[in-house]
Structure formats: structure tokens, C-alpha cells
Symmetry: C2
Subunit: 754 residues, 2 copies
Amino acid sequence: MKISALLTSAGINIGLCALFLSLYSVLRKQPGNVSVYFGRRLAQEHSRYRDSFILERFVPSPSWIVKACQYKEEEILSIAGLDAVVFLRLVVFSIRIFSIAAVVCVFGILPLNYFGQDTMHHGNIPSESLDAFTIGNVKVRSPWLWVHCLALYIITFSACMLLYCEYKSIGRMRLVYFTRSLPNPSHFTVLVRGIPKSTEEPFTDTVKNFFTKYHGSSYLSHQMVYRVGKVQKIMTNVEKVYKKFVHLKDTAFDQRHGPPIYRCGLCGGTSNTFQLYRNESDLSVKKSDLGHFHPNTEEKECAAAFVFFRTRYAANVASQVLQTSNPMLWVTDLAPEPHDVYWSNLWLPYRQLWIRRIGTLLASIVFMFLFLVPVTFVQGLSQLDQLQQVFPFLKGILKKTFVSQLVTGYLPSVILQLFLYTVPPTMMLFSALEGPISHSGRKKSACLKVLYFTIWNVFFVNVLSGSVISQLSVISSPKEIPTQLAKAVPSQATFFITYVLTSGWASLSSEVMQLFSLIWNFFKKYIFGWKDDPTSVPSFPYHTEVPRVLLFGLLGFTCSVLAPLILPFLLVYFLLGYAVYRNQILNVYCSKYETGGLMWPTMHNTTIFSLVLAQIIALGVFGIKESSVAAGFTIVLVILTLLFNEYCRQRFHPVFKSFSAQDLIEMDSEDEQNGRMEEIYQQLHPAYCQFPPHTQDVCDVEVEGSSEADRDSSRGVENDFSHPTLPGLPVSRLRRAVSLLSVLINLQNGRLLK
Amino acid sequence: MKISALLTSAGINIGLCALFLSLYSVLRKQPGNVSVYFGRRLAQEHSRYRDSFILERFVPSPSWIVKACQYKEEEILSIAGLDAVVFLRLVVFSIRIFSIAAVVCVFGILPLNYFGQDTMHHGNIPSESLDAFTIGNVKVRSPWLWVHCLALYIITFSACMLLYCEYKSIGRMRLVYFTRSLPNPSHFTVLVRGIPKSTEEPFTDTVKNFFTKYHGSSYLSHQMVYRVGKVQKIMTNVEKVYKKFVHLKDTAFDQRHGPPIYRCGLCGGTSNTFQLYRNESDLSVKKSDLGHFHPNTEEKECAAAFVFFRTRYAANVASQVLQTSNPMLWVTDLAPEPHDVYWSNLWLPYRQLWIRRIGTLLASIVFMFLFLVPVTFVQGLSQLDQLQQVFPFLKGILKKTFVSQLVTGYLPSVILQLFLYTVPPTMMLFSALEGPISHSGRKKSACLKVLYFTIWNVFFVNVLSGSVISQLSVISSPKEIPTQLAKAVPSQATFFITYVLTSGWASLSSEVMQLFSLIWNFFKKYIFGWKDDPTSVPSFPYHTEVPRVLLFGLLGFTCSVLAPLILPFLLVYFLLGYAVYRNQILNVYCSKYETGGLMWPTMHNTTIFSLVLAQIIALGVFGIKESSVAAGFTIVLVILTLLFNEYCRQRFHPVFKSFSAQDLIEMDSEDEQNGRMEEIYQQLHPAYCQFPPHTQDVCDVEVEGSSEADRDSSRGVENDFSHPTLPGLPVSRLRRAVSLLSVLINLQNGRLLK
């Protein structure tokens, strides 16, 4: 590919981007799209779109970028949670490191590469091949290879320093976020699975006896998990339909009192007394209608329970200690946040889980390798001759320069991109089958799977299939991998640059445009005539976006020294991404559950992997160029990078696995001194109610979410309900109402607070 | 190699074995060698050798084998601890599985291999090549290959069933051993490292404040670890010399009161009051002589301490929970048993340990690869032509059949064996540098290193260098490894059979003979005129014997289907080993410290590795023989074996990592009900005294052991002292004396029981 083709591609993409962003800046001002572009605000801040001046609404403006960038980190933290901040930190880290890399490589290495061959005649730059800008153009035993090695050192050291600072500050942020957060029922709760079946007593008595005996001083009470049978599922669906009608009827009423999300006061959301009492009276009718719903027979109890403890520390200890000498029984884990619980997985027998995990691992690997077929086909497109042989009728069209440039420079990425769209839903499905106990755990697992998948299928397969005929022959000789990669990566740089342009830039445009939501919203509103449902705000698709940003980081690191031309494009991607992701996090997505920055170790490790891979490839290149000094220094660099990673793992990683006794005990004693413990205890049971009988229309979305979870596993469009972590200790006049209600509920459920 | 050469080799070895064993049965009856062959009995049971009839003493007899086999497992458990039982279980497991394998393979596969080629003419068996008995002799696409596959299935399933039973019963044994054992100070104690340095207060106050604040309800007291400086080391040596004199003077007196080991009452050993008071008065003199010894300045305190808790459960929780948000500070681990503490490693800064671990790992790998040089040379010996080219003067000698058979069949193993003798001390040195906190941890780590080393250097390198010219070319193509191994292993079967004969049988003979100890004992007694020192009884060299037994298991599994001739020899090895190891454990070695069967997971995993390796090699063979059905079934078998291993890991392994809350709490409550807790508390401090001032001649062997530990890292000859785990609640009349003394000691140390 020549510079001119690259410029064509860049031109198309810049045009498309500009078009999409302008369209977005217009569309977001239309009141009809407010639920698409301001879902989070509608749901959480209840800001109504102001009716602005009619002309302004149709003039594109970049003001949204300015607005998005105005927010401070603390504000984002309070609005969208720590995960969002960590994700933005990753983008900021990428911007920083690739700014440094761009300066070093564009000014230091690009000229060296271009003038690498003494004998080469340089024509005008547009008709120059892109290969002239890669390290492939530097002659063997060039005395200038030390500059490449130096650049590699600068990039690695900067990256490590930045990574260290980020790890440290995110670790601290996680701690602050945890310790300063409002009391969270999940901190006091342990999920117990693998409760042994006893013929004499029901599960609930077994649990009570066990924890009274062995954790008597700290055990508070527990809450069994019930298995929803077929009949119950049908009932749930009936309930849903019923609710829909009620919802339609109530809409006018509801809107006067704020969006329906406010009715979730009992399970954790803030609310007002009037709303609550209204619910109570409202639902007493419903109870008589659908009274069969409540689990009152003990056969439905399954071998899992939420156990509540008096202190955070006790819960933490109980979750970490081996309970009995049979590790398959009484398995304890810290409970996920109430709205994060993946109910339908809780009643899976614990013994099954290890085999499920292996099964999904194998399925993912098979899926990864089956995906080679389309990728190989896509790579064939960049060789036009092959394409013409397969489809002879294209010969005429392909002869035209513009078309051929379009096909080689643009089409492969687009096709690859379309295939890649099927990956996240598949991985979400696999992760759901694995049996995670929380939605966030499922998303994290899917994120890892998508990450491995993307790195393997976008990077490795493209690199290897582009230059070597058979991938498998390379895999079978690991010793030659550095050399093979060193040959392949510079020659595949063209593809990666176009990939950044198409997949990167275009993905950001489509992210900000929310094309699917827009069209769906249009149909919903104007064709079906449905009302907006503020509960259907999607959560941020970390499982697609984190792997994407990390993949571009990988491309950046591996190509930076070898083919520095990629860096400016990448930098534009990250800068645009910064604005877009901030905007989306602030306006569009709800943060439904929180892992507390657990993604960072993955991001850190992937970045280290990218760095080491870049170094190994550089090692191969220095080997080919017969520069033993540079190769020697690169080996030292690899060892130093790995040591740095090990240090970070020792120093920071344990904090991401569990909280420290010191922090937990201090939080506990603070709450005890303030006398807040009793309040907290009273909120534990309602928080983890599986079928809250009196708040059916409030909480049942959780049940829906779990029963539908396998189906709606596509990109973030999960219908589970969002309530903030805990009531945040509701205003005093509300307290009595809440406690009264929770006692009532428990009385009726036959499960009094113990 | 031909059958006749094999028989020569076998003949030599059987002769040597018989000679050694007869010699042993005579030597063990000589009163002069009683300290060599009955070290444990002398030290622990105080049995004196009866002066038997003079003629009987010079007649070889196999009675020792009968005696060794008479003991029951419970007796061995009480005499030598769980580790010894687990090791013997490994031997028994090997006997069982290889009996099954021998029956299946010798009667099922050997004839198939021998008559595998229709066209082959069979001469008389002695002049037959050994290759005729391997799978290499079976013709391509033989219809009989399913028999090999079936044999593999039978062996694998038997092995898995036996492994499952063993894992289950050893897990249970570990539990019983733990719960029924006498109260052990290590169960109540946590070792804290990485105590943060404070300018305001000494370490001891920091520790007290921290644990009072965060573990107030369960914290009992603590004991700082002191750093021994240069001056102190010299003092220790002076002390030792002084002790030697006292020991020489006291010997006559001591012997009247039982062996000197009995003086250790204060630190845990049983004793009698007279002895104790004698020590006290005796040592008050010594104290005035060597008063500078005690650490009384605070500069010497280092950032480590033993913290004592009120209950086992509390100690266990404190050891598992992350203490602060900086994982490099307040690092807690369950303390090793008092006499198992590796004192000189405790004052290593915790921050150093990860880099030490990486350093020793790299050093071990380098050592492993440097070892290739002698091994390659040894392999050259089996090709006589090469040897004759290098040393032309040997031509005449090597022409003689007997000599050439000796050289090809015997010499390579002997040379390899001699080189292998340097490995365990080196690995012990590496493991000591790693910074383990206990002697048992060091030995376990060394055991793993020796295991990897042995499997790599004895199995893989021999297999690969024997058939392929360059090892590295094979390593670089993993896909071909099954095929390469399949070609190499049958042809190397000869070497492995001779290896079993020489290294296996001979190692058992030399183990039972204790040649080095015998000679050393002779010199000590008759040349230097030293008295027997019952404290110098060695501990069982698990780090050499476990890898050896596992290696023979590996050879057995990999060769069983391919070259079944190895199995009878192997079975003899294991049977003989059973008798020898039982005898040695009962008579010779002291069990100084106990890991509680922690070796078993390693043994299990190695056996699974051997099985899978055997299957992969068989897969390669079936590939070469073009039997796709057998290959397909073998792939299924590999997957099943790995699944079985994963199941065992899930089901049994956690019990080997920590004890369960249930067991700990039950033990605690039992002790509380019996009112034994106060007694236990009083014994915690004395147990972990680093420089017990008044029991210097009793306890100082610990200090010696740690300061000398790096030097005497050779095969098990460690001079650290052995006292039984805890006093076993000394007889009531002794109690007051003990508590009085311990209070006195603590008063003088300025470290009162808190």
C-alpha cells in the first residue's frame, strides 16, 4: 500500500467521523432522542431536557466535547463509579504513553527508517510505499539501530513509570472508594454454596446451626436462595405482563412523582414515604391476585444462602477461611452487591462449577480457532490478484485505482469488524454458562475472553497469516517466533494502520451515535407507540471497550519502533476516545454494578504483555539486522520489564483481591461508635430478598434480568434494574416506614429477622 | 544392547545388592555401629543394644526385613510422623500400580511386541536384542495395537483409582493427625514479617499496639525476633566450644539420667524435675561467664515477630487475612513448629524475598542446563564407536565382550549417578537462599527443585540426546515432541532398564548401608576417640528420596506399554525399597519436623504428569504405527486424566493449604472445656525463645543449626536439635517447676508474658 492509499483511507474515515460526530451533535439536541443519548441522566439525575431555541437544535457544534471534558475525576467517580474512572484512566494512560512514543518515534525513528537505505531513490512522498517508513527499510548492520533500541528503552521506562503511578493511585482510590462509601449490605454478607443436604432438617436450619455454632459471635441471620421452577417462571412472566399494564396505567401518575425507578426505596433506592405507602397499598391488591408466587414450600430451597454478619471484618474472615475439611461443602464467598446478584446461577450445584469452567474454556478456545476462517478470508482481500482469480467478474471494477485502493485499504477491516461484532455476545453467553455469582463477575470474565480473543485473532492471526502461509507451522516452532514476528509485523503495519482508522475511529463514531439504540428508539416511539422505559438504560459495555482500547495499545507498542507512522493515527483515536467515552459515561450508560476497579490488574498485565511482545519483536528485528549489541540490550530490557511486573504484582495486587483487616475493622468501629449498625442490620434482609413480595413491581426486574440473562447477553442491553448501592441511610422520617415494612415482609415470608 | 548384556548387568547388580544387604545385616549387629544404624532409637527410645551371642553377630540374616515389615502404619505414624507415612504410601502405591502394570504388560504386551514382525526370525533369546521386546518391533498398522491402548487404559484407570483413594485417605490422616495431636505452640502462633519501622517506638511496641488494636480479643502476647550480629555469632561459637567441654565432663553424669536430649524439658521435651533444677543451677554459672550473649539492646530487634493468639482459629484467621492495605507490611504466616524455625532467614527484609525467589529460580534453571554437559558425555559412552574414536588406546580392551558389556550397560549410569550426588546439596543451598521460614519449607522447596532437575536431566535429556543429535532443535518444535519421544523412548528403554538396576538398586543398598556414616563413625570413634553424640541423628532426606521414587514411577509409566521388560526390575526396586525405607525410618532417621503430609500433592501431581506423558508418548507411537483408532482413544484418555486431576485439585487440595474453621474451633472449644488453655499459653513463649538464656546447653543447637544451616546443607546431615512437638502436657508435678522457670526467664529477658 502506498501513502496515497493510506491518505484515501484516512480521508474517508476523517470524513465519516466528522459526519457522524456532527450528526450526533445535532441528534442529541432532539427531544425525541433524549432517552438514547441521556439515558443515565434521565434515570439518575431526572434532568429534563430543556426546550432550546429551534435553530440551535439543527446546527452541529462541538460543545458536547467541551462539556464532557469539563467534569472532574471526583465528579465522574460519584456519578459513574470507580470502574468508569479506571477505564478513563486507561485511556489517559494510553494518551500519555503514546504522546511520548509519538514524539520519540516520529522525530527520532521515522527519518532513520526513511533514509535507511543509502542506495534507495526517493520519489515524491505520496507515491512512496508505506514499507519505506518501517524498520524493514533500514539496512542490515546499520550503525543507527541503537536509536531504535534507545527509543524502546524510553518507551518502556515511561510506560513502567506511568503504570506504577496508575497502579498505586488506583489502589489508593479503590481503598478510599471502599472506605468512604456508604454502608453496603454486600460488605456484611457472605454467599454460602454447597450446603450439605440433611434428611432431618431443611437447609435453613442447617445453615442456622452451622453458623451459630462456628461463627456464633458474629452471625446475624441468613436468607435462603430459592430455586425458581418452570411454573414460577411462567408466573414471573404473567407478573411482568401485569406490571406492564399497571405501568402503562400509572405512567401519568408516576411522572408527577419522578420516574418509576424511585419506587425501589425498599430494596435500596432512595424514595419518599408517600411513594412507599402507595406501593404497599397498591401491592396488597396484587398479592391477592398473584398470591401463589411466594416460595412457601421448602422443596424449592436450594443449597445456597446469603449469611449476614455483624461486622464487615467477620464477613470477610468467613469468606476467606476454609469452613470444613471438605472443600466442596460450605463454600463461602463475599456476596456481590444486591442488584449485582446473578440469581439464576446461585442454584447451580457448586460441584458442577469446575467442570462448567473447563467446558467454557474449551468452548472459547474452539471458537477462537474457528474464527480463523473468516479472518483468513479477509486477509486474502488485501491481495487483489487472488480476489480477481476467485471472482473474475470483478476484474473490470478493480482496475479503477480508487476502487482498488478502497478494497485493499478499507474493505478487509470492515469485514473483519462485522465478524467481530458477533464475539462479545458469544463470550457473554459462555461467561453466563460458567456460573458466576454476579453480573459484574460475568462481564469481567467475558471481558477477559474477548481480550484474549481479540489479541489472538486481530493481532497474531493477521500478522502470521499475512506473511506466512500456514499459521500452524509457526506455532510449532516457538524459537523462531521472534524472527517470524519481526518479519511479519513491519509488513503488516499497513493493515494495522488501516485497522486503527477503520475499526478504531469508526467504532468511536458508532459508539457516540448509538445507531442501534437510535433506530430502535425510533421504531419504539413512532411505530409501536411505546413510552420510554427509564429502567432499560444499558450499562457500560466494558467487555467490548476494555479489550478494544487494550488492543490498540498493543498495536501501538508493537508498531511504535518498527512502523512509527501508526502513532499519530493512534493518538487521534485515543484523544477522540477520551472525549467520547467521558460523554457516554456521563450521559448514556448507567453504572449498575461496581467491581471496585478490579479491571485494572487485567489492564496492567495486558499492557506489560504488549510491552514484552514489542520487545521480543524488536529482538527479532535486531537479530535479522545483525545488531547483536541492540539485541543484547533488548534482552536486558525484557528481564527488567518482567521484574517490574512481578514487583507490581507483589506490591499492589493483593489489595485488589481482598480488603485489609485494618480498613475493615476501622470502618466497623466507626459505624459502631456512630450507632449506625442497627440500621444497617435492618437493611440486610430486604437488600437480598429474592422475591420481595410487597415490592414486586419494584424489584422483579432483578428476577426478570436473571431469567432473561442468557438471552439478552448482547452488548450491554441488559434489562436488570439499577438501584444505587444502599439507601445511603434514608432521611430520618423515612426510617420508621422502612423498618416497619421490612418487618412486615419478613413476618409474611415466615423468615423473621434472627 | 542384547539380553545377555542386560543379564550381565542384572547379575552384577543382584550380586552387589546381595553383598551389601548381607554386609548390612552383619554390620547392624555390631555394637560399634549402633549409632549409625539405630540413631533414631538411641535418640528417641533410649533402647540399648543387647549384647547378643557372639556367633549370631557375624551371620548374615534377612530378619531385619521381617522386623521392618512388622510395624503397623499407626506405629510408624507415632514414631516417625505423617511425612514418613506419606512417603511409605507413595512406595506402596508404586508397588500396587506396577504390579498391575507388570501383569498386564508382561503377559499381554510383551508377546505381542516380540512376535510383532511376521517376517522376523527369532534366534535364541539371550542373543536377542532388547529392541525386539519394545513396541518398535510391532509392524505398522498392526491389528494388535488396540491391546496396547487397552493396557494404557487399564493402567491409567487403576492409577487414578489408587491415587483417588490415597489422596482421600491421606487428607483424612492429615486431619486426624492434626486434630488428635497434642497442643502444638505453632497452632497458636503467627509469624509477622515486614513490621513497619517507626522512629518513635521500638518494634515491640509497634507490634503490641497493632495487634491490640486490630486483634484485641484474641491477641495474647508476642516475641520479637533478634538479629544475630557478627559478634554474637562469635559468642555463639564460643558457647558451643564451652558446651562441648561441659558435655564431655557431664557425659558420665548424663548417662545415668538418660541421654542429654532429656534436658530439653523447658522448650518442649519431657523431662524430670531434678534434671530441670540441675540445669537452672548449672547455667546460672554459665550466664555469668557469657553474660553478653543475651540481646538486651533494641537495635538488634528486626522487623519480625512471633505473635501468640488465644485460639487456634484466631491465629489461623490472622495468618490468612491481609493485614493492611500495603501487602508488603505486616505479612502474616502461620508459624512453623518451634524447632523447625529457620532463624537466620527471619531477619531477611520481607521486600527482598520475591527477588530472592526469582534469583534462585533462575539459578536453578541455569544449573539444570549446565548439567547437560556431563549427561551428554555419559550418553556418548553407550555408543562404543565414539568412545573408541576419542580414546584410541581403549580399542583393545573394549573388544572383549565382557568389558564392552560392562561399559555400555553399567558405566554410563554410574557416572551419571556420581554427578547426580552433587545436585541435592546444591538445591538445598538454593532453597536456603530463597529465604524460607522453616527447615521443612526449605526441604520441600529443595525437593521440588531436585524433582524437576531429575525428571529433566535423567529422563528428557537422556531420551532426547540419545536419539536426536541436538536437544534444542527438538525443544523448538513442540508439535513434533510426541513423535520424537515415541521414537526415542523405546530405543532408550535399554538405558532406563540399566538405570533402574544401577541407580535404583544400588541407591537402596547404599541407603541401607549408610556407607558415609559408617566410615565417619569409624574415624570418629577409633581415630579421633570422640563419644557418640545422640543429637546428631540425621533427618530423613525427603529431598533426595521423594524425587528418586517419583522418577522411577515416571520411568515405569512411560516405559510400561512401550518396553514392558522394565517392569519386573522396577517392581523388585519398589519391593526392596519398601523394606529398606521402613527400616531406615524406624531405626536410622529422626523426624525433626513435620509438614503434615504436604508432600502428597506434589507426589500426586508428578504421578499425573507421568501418566499424561506416558499417554502422549503412546499417542506418538500410535501415530507412527498409523493406528488412528488407538490414537483417538488415547486423546480421550489424556483428557479424562486431566479432568480427574482437576477434580482432585478441587476436592482435596484446599485441605493441604489450610485447616478448616470447623476443626480449629472444635479443637479450641475442647481445650477450653478441659481448662488446658492456660497451660498452653504458658508454653508459647518458651517454645519460641530465640536465645533461651537459661537453657543454653539445651536449646542452643537450634541457633547452631540455623547459623550452620547453609553449610551443612548436604544430604540430611543437619545438626539441628530434635524435640517432640510439645511437652504433651508434662506430668502434674512438673507443671509448677516449668511455669516458675518460664516466668523467671521472661523476667530476666525483660519480656514478661503479656
